[in-house]
Symmetry: C2
Subunit: 240 residues, 2 copies
Amino acid sequence: MLNPLIRKLARGAELSADDRRTVEEAITDVRQIGPRQDLIREGDRPDEVHLILEGFACRYKTLADGQRQIMAFLVPGDICDLHVAILGAMDHGIGTLSACTVAFIPQTTVAVLAEKHPAIIRALWWNTLVDEGILREWLVSMGRRPADKQMAHLFCELLVRLESVGLAKDNGFEFPLTQEELADALGLSPVHTNRVLTQLRDDGLIRLSGKRLDILDLDRLCTYAGFDPAYLHLTKRRAS
Amino acid sequence: MLNPLIRKLARGAELSADDRRTVEEAITDVRQIGPRQDLIREGDRPDEVHLILEGFACRYKTLADGQRQIMAFLVPGDICDLHVAILGAMDHGIGTLSACTVAFIPQTTVAVLAEKHPAIIRALWWNTLVDEGILREWLVSMGRRPADKQMAHLFCELLVRLESVGLAKDNGFEFPLTQEELADALGLSPVHTNRVLTQLRDDGLIRLSGKRLDILDLDRLCTYAGFDPAYLHLTKRRAS
DNA sequence: CGGCATTTTGACAATCGTCAATCAGTGTGG
DNA sequence: CCACACTGATTGACGATTGTCAAAATGCCG
């Protein structure tokens, strides 16, 4: 399988064949991680960068009263913590949701890339900035969209993101999350999440069974959610 | 007055006297902007970077139905759009709230800095990453904190941020926003914002009159909000 | 003083959360 | 194969938070 990171970066930045090979070669330490494991905890200063190759992970914070807020879904091709080298300590945790395949890339390798392959670093920064755009859109969703549209918007976003790394087919994709985890991402209670999900199903917009999510009427779902993919900055080129 | 950007960057990164002078010299085009003016609109590709020197501005998005969500407050020392050069088009707007003094710095100047003063660029990236941390904390607030604690948390954050650029005194600062603008940042209705504000006042936690916000009992407000300033990454050094 | 934006208040409605029970699916051991 | 336990999904009843609408009060500025 083509490395999902390269596949994604190629959409937003210019990478030469040499750059791509360099990225491939940086991925040597690949590990299988079980579901619901922490990759990094708040306060850590990891000396490796983590790249998701398979599975779903998330950024999250846990409040003093035990509530959890998921701040981002990390899917194949996503880098978890490029910023730690600059920021110092992690201000949030990163954990797997499903079982994941994760590449551990030493900071020293990243530093070498920065030195010798500026195009790669630029592409990685592009990626980081897209993630920030996603974060902003989540904030908009939580602040100004009712729960049903917020959820619809999230599903639209995931479809586009997973398509960009070749993991969506026929407007559907693997979605190995419990409703409780989905609730933690939406800022809702699990019960209300269930009700909203039921409503979207009853409206014929989606089907969620087993661990697969199918979008039955993409146009209508996008309209319903007010989804405009511009914030994903994926328009430069088509997948090759 | 000491340039607030330099003051802030000095807290999180190492800048030599030469670096500081270089930053000073990059600020030549300084303009006065009235309140409620757009600096950049969604879709723009500005060829200047904007730096707030005085006043309050914000990042925002407007939905199709006219609702607005403010995604960040930009205060003196904050850079609005360092990322545009990498991302292409703006996926959100930036507008002033109060009257502002804004430095317009050409992208070419930034490119020269990147070439000749890596420490400055590194400091600017540090700043961008802190902004991302703030965004994550806002998401947590919106998702998992009730309105009163969310507002309390925001006030704690603003105090720390404004202190770091020398704009807070005696646990108070200029806060030139209407309640409607505050509501757009919190994701609340203006009416509910007013009620929560009244409650915080009645609890003796804050005073908000005219355009000044005073925190009357900082310890209690921080406890109430569950505020932990770690995410602001301002711990490396004291203000000099 | 008059005009206007902003703040404040009350009454009521909608959304969402909590609690508790039930149902469904899955895997285990006998 | 079935009994059992366990997790996750679903449903109902009810309560809390937040939104909406409309009016009144306040403050600011010419």
